[in-house]
């Protein structure tokens, strides 16, 4: 029916459609492309509430999400991301 959504495709889509500076994708489906966890770092999230960020991602990845069974996301602005990483060092 529909082709599977690959990690490469998701990464490229996020970089292109959300101007993501950094993307991390975890495939929780054992490689069959049906359950993804994504971390997205993008300046497009500046000034947006959590719900707005999620809705933005949902909208941009609408076709992909429709094809996969489980999708969860964490979204950060570049500032948030770098301060998170600094505290972990």
């Amino acid at each position: 029916m529909s082709e599977i959504v690959t990690q490469e495709h998701l990464t490229a889509a996020l970089k292109e459609r959300l101007q993501a500076e950094h993307v991390e994708i975890i495939d929780n489906s054992g490689g069959c492309g049906s359950a993804y966890e994504v971390i997205i770092v993008s300046s497009l999230f500046e000034g947006k509430s959590l719900l707005e960020r999620h809705r933005l991602v949902n909208e941009k990845l609408k076709d992909e999400i429709a094809k996969i069974h489980a999708f969860s996301q964490k979204s950060y602005t570049p500032t948030q991301w770098s301060s998170m990483n600094q505290t972990q060092k």
Binding site: L50, H54, N58, F71, Q73
Partner: protein
């Protein structure tokens, strides 16, 4: 090469008129199969005109998934209940990790789900797809508080960790505000 069967009637070559009729009939049959018949409904006509052929059927399906009766049932549910949770399974027996997480988070925050409205989308295919249309949200679970869509498990977890969920629940009267000095 086999010899012609003698028991069958001899075939007569088609006359020109017959050939033309057969040709025209086939042409019509193929045309009807391949092209969409013009709809009489103007609403359908405009959406068909805009949609690519491969998209049109799913547009019809999607439009039918949220029936008026389901929409008004959902309107009533989120309006008349302080908290509504659309999930897979039940609070006692969640049937999906994300739904279970949502139930746990709400429980940890002191929400007694037996006192609120929950829907098991696995029991009802129309609800399962319709709620996604209704909320413009692609996944389950989904939480509504005082008629407002809050989000799914990711958002719930994030709000729980930041303290925003506690604040929201207590400001909407769903949990008792924490007294100072009772925090662990």
């Amino acid at each position: 090469m086999t010899s012609p069967r003698r028991d069958l009637p001899k075939t007569v070559p088609l006359q020109n008129d017959d050939k033309k009729t057969l040709f025209a009939m086939n042409l019509l049959r193929i045309a009807a199969r391949n092209s969409a018949t013009p709809p009489t409904n103007p609403l359908l006509a405009s959406s068909l005109a805009r949609a690519r052929p491969s998209v049109a059927p799913s547009l019809f399906v999607r439009a039918r998934l949220l029936s008026n009766s389901l929409r008004s049932k959902l309107d009533k549910a989120v309006k008349n209940n302080d908290l509504v949770l659309f999930m897979k399974g039940t609070p006692d027996q969640p049937l999906c990790g994300f739904s279970r997480a949502a139930v746990q988070i709400l429980g940890v925050q002191g929400v007694d789900l037996t006192k609120h409205k929950t829907f098991n989308v696995l029991e009802d295919d129309e609800l399962r797809e319709g709620i996604k249309e209704y909320s413009s949200w692609p996944t389950i679970p989904q939480v509504y508080i005082k008629g407002e869509f809050i989000g799914g498990t990711d958002i719930l977890l994030n709000m729980h960790q930041s303290g925003d969920l506690e604040e929201l629940l207590s400001s909407k009267g769903l949990i008792e505000p924490e007294e100072e000095g009772e925090r662990a």
